[in-house]
């Protein structure tokens, strides 16, 4: 369903992604973990072309692009296949919660407003924010904003949702409500790629965990084996430091 091959990206002389190969099956939930600066965000951002990769092929839901021959129209077409949840929510600040959710439906999917609003209310209800439809982002807590952002991502009915540390900008007491919403969409068989520092959450929801370091995928496997019996030294060291902190 999602297939990445030979994906490379550098910033200046910093090789951030080195020939990444990755496959995600439909309905699979894949968690990406790894030390800061290992290229996790860059990988996600290459998948929807917020960053332009230097080389590599990206295929999502039957649509493939070659990074070396990237046309503008291909970039827009590929982005139709995914949606992203950002660390800092990035809700449209000039729009209400409901408008945030339905904006893309109206602008890109050409849905008429009443239909879009019905769907928008349903999605806000799904993330527990039915009563906040007419609130602007500035009036919402971080946790509420992130839940609206999740509803906004769901609205475009993406083949895959990319989540980049969706809880790491939140106050500790707000993390739970957002994880709960993510759990609930895992249950709807949505395909997800989630970068997270919440190890126990990754262990709980992921079908597969990928450990990245220095721009490469070092090791991957189901949560039990990757957290239980990591094979690579880098993985052991990383998990060691993470769990000794907690």
């Amino acid at each position: 369903m999602l297939k990445v091959s030979g994906l490379s990206k550098h910033f200046g002389d910093n090789e951030v992604l080195k020939q990444i190969n990755l496959e995600v099956k439909r309905r699979e939930v894949v968690a990406i973990i790894g030390p800061s600066g290992s290229g996790k965000s860059t990988l996600l951002r290459c998948l929807n072309l917020l960053e332009t990769p230097d080389a590599g092929h990206i295929e999502i839901d039957g649509f493939e692009v070659d990074a070396r021959r990237l046309k503008k129209s291909d970039a827009y077409a590929l982005r139709q296949k995914s949606a992203m949840v950002f660390q800092h929510y990035n809700l449209f600040k000039n729009k209400t919660a409901l408008q945030n959710v339905i904006e893309a439906l109206i602008v890109t999917k050409k849905m008429n407003k009443p239909d879009a609003e019905v769907l928008g209310h349903k999605l806000l209800d799904q993330v527990g924010l039915a009563s906040k439809a007419s609130s602007y982002p500035a009036m919402l807590s971080g946790g509420q904003q992130q839940r609206v952002a999740i509803a906004r991502a769901l609205a475009v009915n993406p083949a895959v949702i990319l989540l980049d540390e969706p809880t790491s900008a939140l106050d500790p007491e707000l993390v739970g409500e957002v994880l709960q919403v993510i759990r609930s969409i895992v249950d709807t068989d949505t395909t997800m790629l989630i970068v997270t520092h919440e190890m126990s959450f990754a262990r709980e929801i992921a079908d597969r965990v990928i450990f990245m370091a220095d721009g490469s995928i070092i090791e991957e496997g189901d949560p039990q084996s990757l957290f239980g019996q990591p094979q690579q030294e880098r993985t052991k060291k990383f998990l060691g430091t993470v769990f000794s902190k907690n």
Binding site: N48, L49, L50, Y76, R79, Q80, S82, A83, M84, F86, H88, N90, L91, F92, K93, N94, K95, T96, E103, A104, V107, T108, Y136, P137, A138, M139, R152, A153, A155, V156
Partner: protein, 222 residues
């Protein structure tokens, strides 16, 4: 003392008939200048090849030349090379000249306002499949406008006053009419006080409207 207070009050309603012309010049120039200013700001912010240095030269030039000189270039100068350019009447020439000059200043305002919008906003637009243009129009520009409105209001107020230069090319705006009234009645002081009071009142009203607009536009952000 020869000062006729009553004359002022008689003059004001006569002069007010020409206020629409003054406001038309100011608002027309403001709209065109905003449009041009936004385009210039986008060209410079996005470092568009060739156009970007051209925009910078444009800004430098029109900031340096007196408005009156710009006006005469358009009204008297250009028809000299293009004799067919007769469609540029005095009103159009005034609006164009005021727009070209103010666009140079507004470009800087818009550049700042656009830069004040977090880059994550455009990324969010793209991530849900919107085009850059859709994102710009529906998310970035409205947020930038809110930042720009306080200074835009000041430019409009300056334009109301600057539009009085139109009398030099024969447009009968409120100031030109005041000159006529003054020389016909020999009540110079009274006439000019009357028009000064009108400009003052217009500025007070515009300032009030600006405050209301600012308040309405900042509602989502509190």
């Amino acid at each position: 003392m020869n000062f006729d207070t009553a004359f002022i009050f008689e003059a004001i309603p006569k002069l007010l008939k020409y206020l629409p012309m003054t406001l038309m010049l100011a608002v027309g120039s403001m709209l065109l200048a905003c449009l041009m200013g936004i385009v210039l700001a986008l060209i410079i912010n996005n470092k568009i090849f060739i156009l970007s240095p051209v925009a910078k030269v444009y800004i430098s030039f029109f900031r340096s030349v007196p408005t009156l000189v710009t006006l005469f270039i358009f009204y008297v100068g250009i028809p000299q090379i293009f004799p067919d350019f007769t469609f540029i009447d005095a009103i159009t020439a005034t609006i164009v000249a005021l727009s070209f000059k103010n666009a140079a200043y507004l470009a800087e305002e818009f550049r700042g306002a656009l830069n004040a919008v977090d880059s994550g906003q455009m990324e969010a637009c793209l991530s849900v499949g919107m085009t850059k243009w859709q994102g710009f129009r529906r998310v970035i520009l409205p947020q930038a406008m809110r930042v720009a409105v306080p200074s835009l209001g000041n430019y409009l107020i300056m334009l109301v006053k600057e539009s009085s230069l139109a009398f030099t090319v024969g447009v009968t705006d409120i100031f030109a009419q005041t000159k006529i009234l003054a020389s016909n009645s020999f009540r110079f002081l009274e006439s000019y006080i009357a028009v000064a009071l009108i400009y003052w009142a217009v500025t007070i009203v515009l300032t009030m409207l600006q405050g209301k607009l600012e308040k309405a536009m900042s509602k989502p952000y509190r």
